[in-house]
């Protein structure tokens, strides 16, 4: 039987073509940035949410004519692909107010890429009770906007069903991640990245079937021998290409866990359904995604504040037997940048060595990177 994971690799590499095919077969594809738009609302109305990614291997060229160089290079790359026509298959665009760069790209993207449908979701930065109420109203507006576009209503039943489906996908991803607790891990960092990135462009039901089919294949690897290597957690924002992960793993380490917008931040917690599905979504997307763009009010001393903000990282490190941390920060990212010293403090207090990399969303000097990573791995090993 053909390996499902090999199929995932192919899917990852050809994900745009796959999305284009979906569109040709009649699906409506809605592109979105970041992990803040509630994809459940799109699924509930039979629209396919498709996370917009950049291309680390492709130089920004046309985008330079419209965008400044001192902004998030990841968003520049996404936009560059859009103005080059690579996202022409998208029927619409959804942009959340996640950070300054993402917020400001919305109007520019609309102007130059001219999506047929577009919507901006204002995500509060605070987490007060009133913030959740406000966000719920914003999601209500988003829901109405999707309904106008699709010319049908999102029934409460359909929304609840979509939430359940996405929760099941989250649970399957967590199950897959648990295989990374083994030493050596049963799922490599490269494979995990391929699964996640490929999945972000698939209809939820299809992704569900894919994840279910992969799990037994990964579980069967328990019987295979393997070499134990330094175990790394990678912290940062967007890694939507296996290049950097592969580089680290080729240097002799295993990436066993992440705290990334393209990784655990999307699925580590379920949407907790109550009486009101929109409120559940508002609570989830505002309170459960540990992106530094969402402010957690200070509690007590600095040490207590760090525990409140980063306590989940200790759980990750313990559960996944992490031995070292790579902070991969994309240049010009204010929200992550201001957290770097605090995150470093926190990991160092746990006795974990750290490699801090501030990069331009490009692997322009792989040898330099390799040297840095190898030196770091030697330090752990």
């Amino acid at each position: 039987m053909a390996s499902r994971l090999a199929g995932v690799k192919e899917l990852y590499e050809n994900r745009i073509r796959r999305a284009e095919d979906l569109r040709l077969s009649g699906s409506k594809i809605i592109g979105y940035l970041c992990c803040f738009p509630p994809i459940e609302l799109m699924t509930a109305i039979d629209l396919v949410p498709c996370r917009i990614t950049g291309d680390i291997k492709e130089q920004v060229t046309r985008g330079d004519a419209y965008l400044e160089t001192l902004m998030c290079p990841y968003i520049r790359s996404c936009f560059d692909l859009a103005v080059k026509g690579k996202y022409d298959f998208l029927d619409g665009l959804v942009v959340p107010h996640s950070c300054d760069s993402v917020q400001r790209i919305y109007d520019i993207w609309k102007y130059y890429a001219k999506p047929a449908y577009s919507h901006f979701i204002d995500v509060p930065h605070m987490t007060h009770t009133a913030s959740i109420e406000f966000f719920k109203r914003e999601l209500e507006r988003f829901k109405q906007s999707l309904e106008r576009y699709a010319q049908k209503e999102i029934s409460p039943e359909n929304l609840v069903q979509a939430i359940h489906l996405h929760n099941e996908n989250r649970a399957l991803l967590r199950e897959l991640y648990r295989f990374r607790r083994h030493n050596p891990p049963l799922l490599s960092g490269v494979e995990a990245t391929q699964i996640l990135i490929a999945g972000m462009t698939l209809p939820a039901r299809e992704y569900h079937e894919l994840l279910k089919s992969i799990i037994p294949e990964v579980a069967a690897r328990k019987e295979l021998p393997g070499e134990e290597k330094p175990r790394i957690l990678i912290y940062g924002s967007e890694i939507d290409d296996t290049g950097f992960i592969e580089l680290i793993e080729q240097c002799g380490a295993d990436i066993v866990m992440d705290d990334l917008c393209t990784g655990t931040r999307q699925f580590w917690h379920d949407v907790e359904l109550g009486d009101d599905p929109l409120e559940a979504l508002a609570c989830h997307y505002l309170m459960k995604i540990p992106c530094p763009r969402t402010y957690k009010p200070r509690t007590g001393t600095h040490a207590e504040d760090l525990e409140n903000r980063f306590g989940y990282l200790k759980e990750y490190a313990t559960e996944f037997k992490v031995e070292g941390v790579i902070l991969y920060i994309i240049r010009f990212c204010d929200t992550h940048g201001f957290d770097v010293p605090d995150v470093k403090d926190y990991f160092e207090a746990m006795g974990l060595p750290i490699l801090y990399l501030e990069e331009d969303y490009a692997i322009t000097a792989p040898e330099r990177l390799r040297t840095q990573v190898r030196t770091f791995i030697d330090l752990i090993g």
Binding site: Y111, D122, M126, F134, R137, R141, F338
Partner: protein, 437 residues
Amino acid sequence: MGSLEEPTSATKSLECAKKVRPLVKEMYARAHEAKKQGRPVAYCMVMSQYDEILRAMDVTPIWTENYGGLCATKRDADRFLAKADAEGYSMFLCSYATTGIGFDALRRELEEIPADAPDGGMAEPDMLLGSSAMCDPRYKWYQALGRYKDTPIYNIDVVIPPVDAELGEIRDYYIKYQVEEIKGLVAFLEKATKKKMDWERLNEIIDLSEETNRLWRECHQLRKAIPCPMPAEDHFRTFVPGRFWLGTQEARDFYREMRDELKYRVENKIGVVPQEKYRLLWGGGLPPWHTMKLFNYFGALGAVFVRETAYIPYESVDIPPLVTHPLERLAYRAFGHFTYRYEGSRKGCGNPHVQLILDWLDEYKADGVVMHQVMTCRATTIGQTHHRQLIQKYVKLPVMFLESDIVDVRTYSEEQTRRQIDTFLELVDSYKTANGC
């Protein structure tokens, strides 16, 4: 890079502009005095919609972004930036913030205010009041300060609606949220200061602010005159009362006096330069505080900035007559200020910022636009390239990008910038000729 021995500040035209420097010194002195007397002092961010709240609660504000600018004008930011670097903060983060963080990190290390800090340094705050108004560093900065002080923080959301939203659909819940956010701040302040808010007093202070903003707007209207009576170098100084003293008699009196001075200059045709050859608009970005004398360089070549899009007064907005509670007034003002151009721009170029520039180019008879691409400020820089394209779609005028930073001079070249300005003004000249002016 300019020599440290040379002055970096611009020469001022207005007598009023010359009175601002003492006001800045006074701000920092008042904070030190308040601290000495045991009165509450707060670190604050501009445009956070709480200026009047602080005045009504007798909290002395320290506008920490201003301190970054002040250190830049004194060319005394390097030691703070270097300290922030050493602490692990990237040089590409907001340099107002890294200056402030560097200052507080040094204060913590030295256990006192760093020696000879500009204007005596920032007094130790009793509270940190951040906000999400305009950009991300405004709430991340104070969170980061937790490494150096256990000072209580209260961050509020200041929400700015998306440009394509139907305002009628969103107005109520945007305003409601804004009210709740400010209300949360009031509760925090009441607890911190052990003092109840006097709502009547707050209403009076808001009245005073409205009068201040009205006078300030009047000042800018007078700049339409030819020759222009006041340049950008004065604007970027005289915004201080409007942004850092809002809600005080001093601010209101300042703009009344400035309005009168401007009227006199207009009536007597007193311009900024002997021969006003080019009228320019500052169309984006914050100014290069480290080298404000650049504006005089423009002036020496006959160019005067007649209007700026940065640090502008609050617009006059219609507030329903039934709205009388001061928190609602503040929330309506914020919503109105941020959105008043939305609907108008839909009938024009579609972009409120660019529409403002297009309107002003016409109203102020400007010949070109200058924007500043600020290395460490995403909020005011992203979109400038797009704005230039949009402007030039509607008018045949040159647009120039200055490239530097608000504080950091490490990548700045003054000679190169002057050459750029020379070239730009030649271009302005040729456009004027081509346009038959």
